[in-house]
Subunit: 336 residues, 2 copies
Amino acid sequence: MPIRLRDIAQDLNLSTMTISKVLRGQTDVSAETKARVMKRVRELNYRPNIAARGLRTGQTSSIGIVVPRLGGAFIPVLVEALTEVFRRDGYSLIVGCADGDAENEERESELHLSRQVEALLFCVREDAADIPQPLKNSSVPVVLIGHRPARINLLSVGLREEEVGSLAATHLLACRSRRIAYMRGRRTAVADQRVTGFREALRDRNIPLREEWLVELDSEESEFAAAYIGVRKMMQSAPRPDGIVCSSDLAAAGCCSALQKAGFTVPEQVQIIGAGNSPEICEPFGLTSIDLSAAELGRRAARMTLRLIREADDASLRSMTLSPSLVVRTSTRAPS
Amino acid sequence: MPIRLRDIAQDLNLSTMTISKVLRGQTDVSAETKARVMKRVRELNYRPNIAARGLRTGQTSSIGIVVPRLGGAFIPVLVEALTEVFRRDGYSLIVGCADGDAENEERESELHLSRQVEALLFCVREDAADIPQPLKNSSVPVVLIGHRPARINLLSVGLREEEVGSLAATHLLACRSRRIAYMRGRRTAVADQRVTGFREALRDRNIPLREEWLVELDSEESEFAAAYIGVRKMMQSAPRPDGIVCSSDLAAAGCCSALQKAGFTVPEQVQIIGAGNSPEICEPFGLTSIDLSAAELGRRAARMTLRLIREADDASLRSMTLSPSLVVRTSTRAPS
DNA sequence: TTGAAAGCGCTAACAT
DNA sequence: ATGTTAGCGCTTTCAA
């Protein structure tokens, strides 16, 4: 049984109010009483019951987030950034993991709402076409992170996905590749946007894209293996590509491996560029990669959330998208 | 403002009790009333206030965990396994991330206790010599995950770290390496245990370990770079090692890269074995690795926790350690 | 089958 | 400077 305010009050022959005041740093308590209370509080390891406090004050000082999974390079960085900003303001972030399942996403969202979180963040799966029902008529502010599905009208913080494609293409062009291939991810809205950005960047410079250079990763295989296989086929086309943009770092690693095995040199004969900027994959291969700005996304989302909580429905708040950024390593040449 | 039981009750001219009963599936309510209530509940998107319920019943159906960080290959798998087992029993897991900081570990532990979690899990940092104060006299069950610091007398679920070293050594021996080196991690209790296991495995077979083959990774560098540098020096010794056990997959990747660059073949001339079994690192390099059983650790810890919650202080529960397991890929040869 | 009363631990507002 | 009262939203208990 945890200690209650009342236990301390009875102990010291004081009222619960006095204890409560001391604990919250109210000033209308004598220094002596304060000292006695604090002493006993520490001795007994008293810890206030947040639920009871929240019930009374209507403030739980907690914010919920639902993420599809916990692994990978993106989510952990995002969540740590959110946690840090929230912590500074006395909020704590409650993470609910849905294990990639839409039903769990709904359950976790409801749980958060039942816990009276003051705001709810939702990290949208790349392949999601919709969001859980509970978010749609939530009584607390909701912020989406990642892409915003069509026709969903909630505040969101996302990435300019087309720029992932265009940034990669532009960099390869600057590094004197002219025959640029794209190894695209599975059919999701996000993957499509990246391809679009890629195509537009090439078109803007009047660089042709041959359709046999636009390869989709076989979804039966792991991304690495799929890219490994895919790139071999790609290299049999004539002319051969001299630069490859990949939809993920793992796919880029697959390309590097296969190319080296086949006797091509990276970056001299073929330049490679990945996406995700996962240090564990990029460092071993010296992969140039597109960073998806997880930390910055988290900070922006956190600040937006805090403003929403404070200022109810501030009309000045608008959804925003951030730009990805290029991180150059050795799988691309020095730009001219 | 969220909807309350009372709102629904007034709406339907019933008492809050009736609504409450319907929601909890009590049977002493007429079918008709039940239907009316459920209809309105859905229309209004009513969600019970978990805090208020918990205050009354003393059950929050939530369990807290504090982890040092969210990234890497171990924690996400652990947390997902815990989540899944708890979910089946109607508990939800609240994850608190300490960003690798001991002070935050204490804060997050206190927060969980303040939230009246029914049990508290704590994932011990590898370099931790102690655990947060709040865990030591917690009024709810505490389970440690990972290694248990000396003189801490709490239930724990951990890995037999020495077996990580011995399993690796034994496998290399079975694959006909005789000059086996060890690339050890930074000075932590866990790293020491692994080295111990490694040494003992060699000693048991009367295989000598030369001290220049026991290299510690330079902690100024990333693990990959440190291993890359370390292995080059190691290969200048005479005789040269023909097998290397690494304290992490990333270090193993560094070894592979450096060796290939220097013209050595893996696994023909030198066999490499990593630890962690992180798919993203192991697959590209075909790394044989020691799996740290994160998922199984999670399941065991979850079951232990549930029993602790139910059976108060069940004397039959004891700390346990699980064995790591070997995952063979292509950086080691076929055993003879 | 339905409902009234009391109280979980805490704090806002108001006495004393 | 300290204490009293009332009530947050819910459920246990018991009465109608």
